[in-house]
Amino acid sequence: MVFVIRRLLQALFLAFVMSFLVFAGIFAVGNPVDILIDPDATQAERARLIVQLGLDRPFHEQYFIFLGNLLQGDFGNSFVYNRPALGLILERMPATLELAFAAIVIAVVLGIPLGVYAGLRHGSPGSQAVMAGSILGFSVPNFWQAIMLIMVFSVMLGWFPVSGRGEVGEFLGIRSSLFTLNGLHHIALPAINLAIGHLALVIRLARSGTREVQAQDFIRFARAKGLSEPRIVLVHLLRNILIPIVTLVGMSFGGLIAFAVVTETIFAWPGMGKLIIDSIRMLDRPVVVAYLIVIVVIFIILNLLVDLLYSLIDPRIRLDEARQ
């Protein structure tokens, strides 16, 4: 319990620091009035709008007003959409989360078997092919890879749609495009695009973990017990290489959400990432700030989840020790 409370306090402090840094940073950007107000507007209209948006007050006042509102769950209204910024983000969050989730599933489901294979058959042509592929996957810049996917699978072969999110279905009260065929058809390319970099990472981790664990005495002992090869690999080996992989998956989920910016921009995926890029371009300050605060919260939750998962996988780690 102490551990959880301490982590939560740390998280709050982190969120506070971030809110300040981000706000201070955004304050330095050019005047949003110039973008938001019709150039033909009269001087009086301009002044009225500036007061309405609170842009006439000094920096610290703006910040304290902002912070006070933040604590009440009010992240301010988007300059562009004139709607609550938090609402805008939460509205688009499911699309991003389902994309990141699909990417993680692809990375893990393909990455672990490939990595374990490469580790077990170290030095074989198959293993070398897997590793070469992983170096390539690691090196291909995400955005270019997205263009290539579109070019090959959408333009040339016509297998997948070029952009957009498909129909949304509902299952167990969750609304997601993963539950309809049309939705899966649309998510395939963006999810693969987002997954490939992490797929390469999972392969590397699974491979090095396999090689390390394979040489351990307990694997040899398991063989000496006459266990079947599948049981040795699936139970004895896999359980031991899962820890670094779970860490990676947990940590990289946040990274995926951030990197979704690129994928969402190229595939016109209506998620948070596309929103933030558009907001940055249009200097929509409240949305950018709200986005960052939301990201910080997501990161903190993920870190907690990873720590909890650890203790499930590895009995040697007790929760209160996990962060000592």
Binding site: I26, G30, F143, A258, V262, I277, R281, I295
Partner: protein, 310 residues
Amino acid sequence: MSVTDTQPTTAPPLTPKAQAPERPAARIIRDFARSPLALFGLALLLIIVLAAFLAPWITPQNPYDLRSLSIMDSRLAPGEVGFSGVSFWLGSDGQGRDMFSAILYGLRISLMVGVIACTSALLLGLTLGLVAAYFGGRTDTVIMRLVDLHLSFPPILVALILLAIMGRGLENIIIALVIVQWATFARMGRATALSERGREYVEAAQSLGLSRIRILFGHLLPNCLPPLMVLYTVEIASAIALEATLSFLGVGLPATQPSLGLLISNGFQFVLSGQYWISVFPGIALLLLIVAINLVGDRLRDVLNPRNIT
């Protein structure tokens, strides 16, 4: 009492005399050369760097000299001969630029941004890391807290926000990359310095009464270099990739300095109409550059870490 405890008191020479110890640099080069893949990466890297460096002399066209461009030559397919009688081996873009020339110039910018940003980040991060490791205590805590905070955010997010604040531009993207990368170097520098600090040679230097600064930079630094070299190589690749991504998103380099990311971005709209070359060829160049650097970095990691030699 056991067999393994028998000490060689008057050990007769059972084995041929050990060869004279090889110089470390010679060993590293020899080990490096044992991997054909790494040699290939190195050769590729040298070719790319050379081509980028010599771009003004070997390209048929200066892509930024608007007078040499003709709109009549726009979007020619690879190999087509243009209006002015020049052949465009890799095609041309929407403004009639020869893609081959544009790619070499783009490589120049990408390499320059990557190297300058990474070197600055290395110097900044390493200094802070060494200071943290050597002085310890509160200095260490403050610096490392900052590093932890920093590393808990994905680089692309940090860079996006910074560029949102500063606006696009060559200097700005370099600054953003340095801010993104310094923490990685700081952490690595601190970790290696800490493991070196306990060694005898540091204690010896201390007992000789050498100044802290002297020990820090004269003794600790050289011993931290191998792992940092590996990190530096790999980080150049990721800096180049990040710069390309940011430029692609339209928050990186301005249109007047078209890096590879911008070229790819310009070509994206034409991909849908089947004019693939404007995006594909700059992308291949970028990919080759990154793969080459990573191949070299991978091998360096193996070679510089004696435990990994198989």
